[in-house]
Amino acid sequence: MIRIAKNLYAYRELVAELTRKDITVRYKQAYLGIAWAVLRPLALMLIFTLVKSFVGIDSGTIPYPILTFAALMPWVFFQDATTEGIESVVKNSSLVRKIYFPREIFPLTAVTTKLVEFGISSFILAALMVWYQMAPTVHILWVPLIILYTLLVSLTIALMGAAVNVSYRDVGAALPILLSLLMYASPVIYPLQLVKDKLVIQQAAGEWSDLLYTIYTLNPLAGIIDSFQNVVLRGLPPDFTSMLPGMVLTAILLPLSYRFFKWEEAYFADVI
């Protein structure tokens, strides 16, 4: 573990440089430039707010637009980081075939690139907080840890997915579908509290309720989104009971995913 971290630290300049490249290239010839990075969560926020006015979702004491924006920020970060991470090795095939450096640099760079865009979105969040006159509390200091955890979740999927995608591009094609399904299984449009109320408090599914809730929270995004909203908007610490199942799952899968990636790495140049 320490060895891996050390190795990656040695390549920090490369990651920084490749991230810079990704961002520059993406927005270079766009008039709006990096503003595009925040337009998507903003647009989704507006759509969800519109939908909410028909459907009626209980957002508690927090105004719905800012609640859903705070959900979209980690979600979009996760979604983009995972998608880009999976495509990253194939996209850089010309480098893969000619120059060696640890291949996990590619997914890692894809993820860090999205981190920059996440940083830009947070200005919008701050502006929304000013608009709704919400003051951050000390719990906002949890944000870096929550984001680091999100990053690890993305990497877990991206490492495995990128390695498989080298041989079978099906992964890249299937991913958008799976991710959009996952979005509805995550508390993006609705707050986690609704699920919790139904399953844990009302025991809506009878004796299966607690099990169902654990399964629901196996999705790391459930805990991540809820905790992000907690620490930023509600002034509460993260809800660890909703985070634990996802964390355990990630802790098991990340090393396996990394191992698989390193095993496959040797053949990237041959089959890409």
Partner: protein
């Protein structure tokens, strides 16, 4: 001390297309049921390669297309891993396998210098220090803040080469990148390479098809052939061997393509029996050395007596450029040809052509210049290169004994003993 060790390295690729998910699934089911699995034919790009390179050696790798040169470099650069065997490289490797890998069209020259140099493993501080040097070497000072998608291809290559050669590494791996850009820039590249090799004392591996360059720059040469190390030794010896082998291949190809191209015309009075090339001992042969004696023997039947006919024997190239021809018309007392079998020999004491494939032509005219028989490509023969051939100037057709006066001191160009037909 050895810096690169290659032990029993083989690399296999599977031929054919990538297996589909369906086929992979099918194979997996078969494997589980212990049924025979559908396999694709493996192709051995490298087959049990062994060698070690000591620090400071400059090693050239030569071989025909598909001999495994690039695969070997990729293995050394750690881009891919061997199927069996192992490779140990002690030290930092700078692979210049294909200059320009990783240049991003949308970024400016400056951004690309930073990006590409970082990819090649140069630290940011070092790049900043070397930046001016890189730019001035590439002669792109005026364009450095322009996106490189607007560069010409030559400009891109110049930039890439400048970045690539600014790497400090113990082992340099260079694949056919020496000649880039226009002639003046090629010269600069070449000087830069020599400086890298001689000045820094780094270990260098070069793959090139330019045998003369390899022969000049390297201290050792490996010849690869069909994935195996066919020869390993001093540059001149190996380059010569390779030259000879390629030559044989070219000649074989020429012969093959000429086989159907025998042009013959006969009025019926003459019937050609044989055309032979003879060596000094009078034995039939297919080749002679540059500057050696050309001796052609033609046998034919005469069906009708010809009075004072004119006999012409000559040579031409494979593309029917007539090289030499001599006629018996110059001989005043030439005899008549009676009915029966006759034999004519045409001897050139020193045939002054460079190595290659040549052909014999033969013609007979009667005393009124009427065509009785003409034939081209009647005999195909090769002229073998001399042992110093690769050192000699390349653009030439004739092989002539030469004398030199260098600052008034006479030097006779060594007329090296014609090499024996090696390997044939």
């Amino acid at each position: 001390m050895s810096i690169i060790e290659v032990n029993h390295v083989s690399k296999e690729y599977r031929l054919g297309t990538l297996t589909s998910l369906k086929d992979s699934a099918k194979n997996m089911v078969r494997r589980l049921r212990k049924q025979p699995v559908q396999k694709r034919i493996p192709f051995k790009a490298l087959d049990d390669i062994n060698f070690t390179i000591t620090e400071g050696e400059v090693v050239g790798i030569i071989g025909n297309n598909g001999a495994g040169k690039s695969t070997l470099l990729k293995l050394l650069a750690h881009v891919t891993t061997p199927t069996t065997g192992n490779i140990a490289v002690h030290g930092k490797v700078a692979p210049l396998i294909e200059v320009g890998a990783g240049l991003v069209p949308d970024l400016t020259g400056r951004e690309n210098v930073y990006l590409n140099a970082t990819i090649l493993g140069i630290s940011r501080a070092d790049i900043a220090r070397k930046f001016d040097d890189i730019v001035s070497f590439s002669e792109l000072e005026d364009f450095i803040d322009t996106p490189i998608k607007r560069y010409s291809s030559g400009m891109k290559i110049r930039l890439a080469f400048s970045i690539a050669t600014s790497v400090d590494a113990e082992v340099l791996i260079i694949d056919e990148v020496l000649a880039v850009g226009d002639l003046a820039f090629q010269r600069k590249c070449f000087d830069r390479m020599e400086e890298l090799i001689k000045g820094r004392g780094s270990t260098v591996l070069i793959v090139s098809h330019n045998i003369r360059q390899i022969e000049r720059m390297c201290s050792r040469v490996l010849l690869l052939d069909h994935g195996e190390v066919a020869a390993d030794g001093l540059p001149l010896d190996i380059a010569d061997l390779f030259y000879r082998r390629s030559n044989e291949k070219i000649n074989a190809n020429h012969k093959k393509s000429l086989q159907g191209k025998v042009h013959k015309y006969s009025s019926g009075e003459i019937e050609l029996l044989s055309v032979e090339l003879l060596n000094e001992q009078g034995q039939p042969t297919d080749s002679l050395p540059s500057g050696g004696t050309l001796r052609v023997r033609v046998k034919f039947n005469v069906n009708q007596t010809l009075q004072r006919p004119e006999i012409v024997v000559g040579t031409h190239t494979t593309d029917f450029f007539y090289l030499s021809a001599s006629s018996t018309a110059l001989i005043e007392d030439r005899p008549d040809l009676e009915v029966g079998t006759h034999e004519v020999e045409y001897i050139v004491p020193s045939f002054p052509l460079v190595a290659g494939t040549y052909c014999v032509r033969f013609a007979i005219f009667d005393q009124h210049q009427r065509k009785v028989f003409t034939g081209e490509t009647l005999k195909i023969f090769t002229i073998l290169p001399t042992s110093m051939e690769i050192r000699d100037a390349p653009m030439r057709r004739l092989y002539l004994p030469t004398q030199w006066r260098l600052d008034g001191v006479p030097h006779s160009s060594p007329m090296p003993a014609p090499a024996e037909a090696a390997g044939s």
